[in-house]
């Protein structure tokens, strides 16, 4: 059976990756999961300088999911290159670095620094974080802004770039086309949906940042729909994520048109989740007599 997939010339032993920000730098979960088994590790967002993130509380559980407002706290590119990258490079897995910034020049700086490190296989450009005021999502909600930043980063990138799209838009297909036409090598989606929770006893916002990003099982159908719409609109490969909690959810994503998938919030509920999803895909393929995983990609048909 073949579970190998390829995106922009990079091959992955299987299509299961970790969603940025839910797996740290890989180090924390390496006590639970054999990182060698993963298709890729996608790191937490990395900026040009350390970011302190948002005030607490940063986490709130909601029905079927969670809200987070971490605010992209990260130690910056220097620490990432000194500490986190050498750790990940010891493993036989692909490394995708998630890049964030407040301005185009921030993104370009990180992109250029990563260009000197061939251990990094791809860059995922986060233009969809709902939790930071400047940067992040402001580039991901207008097609013109998305095109501009994609072009700039592409011009400076040595590795293929994945544009991570926001679900907080009216027309995902339009955004997908904008990224493709500006030179994106691949897309990933969805980032979190902006939400809010109010504590009725304290009569305050549950999160220090007032709003937060909704993730987890509750958003899965939204993610499947958006991956499908984007896959219909563009030719570049898509990495699908959003509420994947089982192999069934992952296979649904592949059928909708994703070439690979990322497991996010589920890691918190089950630290072995990525391995379970990989095993489950394998079981499904053998039960259904599927020789090559590629035949599942976009294979949903009308009833």
């Amino acid at each position: 059976m073949n579970t190998q997939v390829s995106i922009a010339g990079v091959t992955f032993k299987n299509p299961v990756m970790t969603a940025s920000g839910t797996f740290g730098s890989g180090m924390e979960y390496s006590e639970f999961v054999d990182l060698n088994k993963l298709g890729a590790v996608v790191t937490k967002g990395v900026a040009n300088v350390p970011w302190p993130g948002n005030p607490t509380p940063r986490i709130s559980e909601v029905y079927g999911g969670m809200l987070n407002a971490i605010g992209l706290q990260n130690p910056g590119i220097d620490v990432f290159l000194e500490r986190d990258l050498p750790f990940l490079a010891k493993y036989d897995t692909r490394i995708i670095v998630n890049v964030c910034g407040h301005s185009i020049s921030d993104y370009v700086e990180v992109t250029e620094r990563l260009g000197d490190h061939p251990e990094v296989d791809m860059l995922e450009i986060n233009v969809s974080c709902p939790n930071v005021k400047e940067g992040g999502i402001s580039f991901g909600q207008r097609p013109e802004a998305l095109e501009e930043i994609t072009k700039e980063i592409k011009a400076h990138a040595k590795q293929p770039i994945i544009l991570k799209l926001s679900p907080n838009v009216t027309d995902i297909a339009e955004m997908a086309r904008a990224a493709e036409s500006a030179g994106a090598d691949a897309l990933s989606m969805i980032n979190t949906l902006t939400g809010m929770k109010i504590d009725i006893h304290k009569r305050t916002f549950a999160l220090g940042n007032k709003t937060g990003g909704l993730s987890g099982p509750a958003i899965h159908p939204v993610a499947v729909r958006m991956v499908y719409q984007a896959a219909q609109a563009v030719k570049i490969p898509i990495i699908g994520m959003g509420g994947i909690s089982s192999a069934e959810d992952a296979i649904e994503m592949l059928l909708a048109g994703a070439t690979a998938v990322s497991v996010g919030t589920m890691n918190f509920i089950d630290p072995y989740a990525t391995e379970h999803v990989i095993q489950g895909i394998w079981d499904y393929m053998s039960e259904e007599g599927i020789e090559d995983i590629q035949t599942l990609i976009g294979a949903v048909s009308e009833r």
């Binding site: 740290g24 986490i59 706290q73 910056g76």
Partner: protein, 267 residues
């Protein structure tokens, strides 16, 4: 090594109104230390996040862990229904725990407020055990000051086994009237070192006291958690110095904590 595993409930009883005392059999007990915690995963699939609960006691053979918790929401309400023989999912052991070595030869004050008292039981037990093996002059004198709402003074006798206990109650029914800080003043308690766990306002007062007395104070902090293992950056506390891991003035309570020296954190 942290692990998620199935544990078996050995016993559970309600020791005070809405406060439950549960012993669970788990291999994690082998490595569990005072001040550390585990997380419990509710069986109800709509409750996604693991619930962090402190280690209240480890049995002498290191085969089981005791937790004591208050029912405050759906997760803890579910835990309260568990009975002997039930199998539950837990992960641990998490966090740094208390630095016992620093207590050698000192008079130590344990300050606990309400549902912050449980981790002090294992701390007192381990310190008493350590002290019994130390040379005269290097032993540890343990004093506890505990704050409760009313005369329902859960875990008091547990701490009396290892320490001299002073109590404060909000309604004045036992001990000093008011908070645990009032008990410390009323009974004129003094110490060379403090360990404290309880609500944030209490921890703020303890930090103040530690600065006045010019003694070290180790505080157990809480924050909402998602991963529990240092990956999500959800559970941070502001630190006075840049943190060695995050390189900003934020430390992860689940990993660098939950125990911090009072001067390290801005609370």
């Amino acid at each position: 090594m942290k692990r998620k595993e199935e544990a078996v409930v050995l016993s559970q009883r309600e020791i005070s109104s809405g406060i439950y005392d549960m012993w669970i059999e788990t291999k994690l007990a082998e490595q569990a230390k005072a001040g550390q915690f585990i997380v419990l995963y509710p069986k109800d699939r709509s409750l996604l996040m693991p619930r962090p609960i402190s280690i209240c006691e480890v049995d002498g053979y290191k085969r089981s862990i005791r937790i004591v918790y208050r029912v405050v929401g759906d997760g803890t309400r579910e835990f309260a229904t568990y009975q002997e023989g039930d199998v539950i999912d837990i992960m641990g052991v998490l966090g740094n725990g208390y630095n016992l070595k620093a207590a050698k030869g000192k008079k130590v004050l344990l300050i606990g407020g309400g549902i912050g008292i449980p981790p002090l039981v294992e701390l007192a037990r381990e310190m008493a055990l350590m002290s019994s093996k130390l040379m005269i002059g290097n032993t540890i004198e343990i004093v506890s000051a505990l704050g409760y709402r009313d005369s329902d003074t859960f875990l008091r006798t547990d701490l009396e086994a290892y320490s001299r206990v002073y109590v404060a109650t909000e309604d004045g029914s036992t001990g000093a009237r008011g908070t645990v800080m009032d008990a410390i003043e009323d009974f004129d308690i003094k110490a060379d070192m403090i360990f404290a766990c309880g609500p944030l306002p209490m921890l703020r007062s303890v930090k103040q006291l530690a600065l006045e007395w010019d003694v070290p104070a180790y505080l157990s902090l809480e924050e909402h958690m998602a991963c529990g293992i240092g990956a999500c950056l959800g559970c941070v506390v502001k630190t006075t110095q840049p943190d060695a891991h995050s390189h900003v003035n934020n430390a992860r309570i689940c990993t660098e904590g939950p125990v911090f020296e009072a001067r390290e954190v801005e609370i």
